[in-house]
């Protein structure tokens, strides 16, 4: 994939990415089946559900669209809601872009399709130093969720609601996010960013089109930068 990564490096990085994402798949699979069940309940066919899971491949926005379809919402509202939920992908793209700059445009276009919360978080936490084969690490961490997502969606749709909601398996997703965020809280500035994002997300949860998520994310970044600047100013780091 890259001139700087010989096959051995590529293979090692790909496997390391796979290994890093594997426990997180335990959270993705139940979420995928829930998404499949919801698609079935909204009256989608298997082909339609696949069109969504392959064509959109972004769980939260798929679930929101399916619910809106079931409620016979206006098409424009559905599209807007899904896009706002997925705006965070542009933030991930900006954050990870520098690590992929050595790759050709077609490779970057290919890797972009697989960008998810999980593949991003696992990769960016790992990409601390400059090393060859970052794209392979990311690809390992990204292709597994994609596969599990497609399988889980199909299973949920075909088997229906055979998993009782009282098992609360949907809770596995926020739990994996918790596991992913903690290693990124390294100092006072990042802890402040996390706290601010949490408070803002709760305060702004009522905003239409899920704009609360974006508000909280941007607010958290702002607070983190502010605390960092202040600490630098007083030389406390």
């Amino acid at each position: 994939m890259t001139p700087t990564a010989p096959r051995r490096v590529a293979q090692g990085q790909f496997l390391a990415g796979l290994r890093a994402i594997s426990p997180i798949l335990l959270g993705i699979f139940p979420f995928a089946t829930i998404s499949g069940v919801a698609a079935g309940e909204a009256g989608l066919s298997l082909a339609q559900a696949f069109a969504m899971s392959v064509g959109i491949f972004a769980g939260a926005s798929q679930l929101a669209s399916v619910q809106l379809i079931r409620d016979h919402a206006n098409g424009l509202v559905i599209v807007l809601t899904a896009i706002v939920i997925n705006l965070r992908m542009a933030m991930y793209s900006a954050s990870i872009a520098d690590h992929f700059r050595r790759y050709s445009l077609p490779v970057r276009a290919f890797l972009s399709y697989f960008l998810t919360d999980q593949a991003y978080a696992v990769s960016i936490t790992h990409f601390q130093r400059d090393e060859a084969g970052k794209g392979w690490y990311y690809f390992g961490a990204a292709i597994a969720p994609w596969t599990v997502w497609q399988l889980g969606t199909a299973m949920g749709l075909l088997l229906g609601a055979s998993v009782p909601p009282s098992w609360s398996l949907d809770f596995a997703i926020p739990l994996t996010f918790i596991a992913l965020v903690m290693p990124n809280i390294r100092n006072r500035a990042s802890a402040s960013a996390a706290m601010a994002a949490v408070l803002l997300a709760v305060a702004a949860h009522g905003l239409p089109y899920n704009l609360g998520l974006l508000t909280a994310a941007i607010g958290g970044i702002g607070v983190g930068m502010r605390v960092e600047a202040r600490q630098e100013a007083i030389g406390e780091r």
Binding site: A90, A216, G224
Partner: protein, 110 residues
């Protein structure tokens, strides 16, 4: 909703979502600028922590769209304990196991 409307919606969301993913990766510069870290680069360092926190908070604190207080909300308690486990162990499996087990226990007791 008819078939072609559904397909149109999926295509529009799919293309838009792809373009969001591709946006900055596609525009990646070939050489990093030397020297001091820019404000943009500093902001990007807070993306993982801010976005993930913003995703987690509503999942722990809201029940059917309304704020639920800690003692009425097993998810908040289980989530906070799981965060402690994640912080101490840095282990995804342990975080998942403790969080799910505690949620089930609290629900069974509740």
């Amino acid at each position: 909703m008819n078939d072609s409307t559904f397909l149109l919606i999926v295509v529009v969301i799919g293309v838009a979502t792809y373009l969001l993913r591709f946006s900055f990766i596609g525009a990646a510069r070939h050489e990093p600028r030397a020297g001091k870290e820019s404000a943009w680069q500093r902001a990007l360092r807070y993306v993982p922590v801010a976005v993930l926190s913003a995703l987690i908070a509503p999942a722990l604190t809201l029940r059917s769209g309304a704020l639920a207080l800690p003692w009425q909300n097993p998810r908040l308690i289980a989530g906070l304990v799981a965060a402690l486990v994640a912080w101490r162990t840095r282990n995804v499996l342990a975080t998942l196991a403790v969080g799910m087990a505690l949620l089930w226990l609290l629900q069974a007791l509740g």
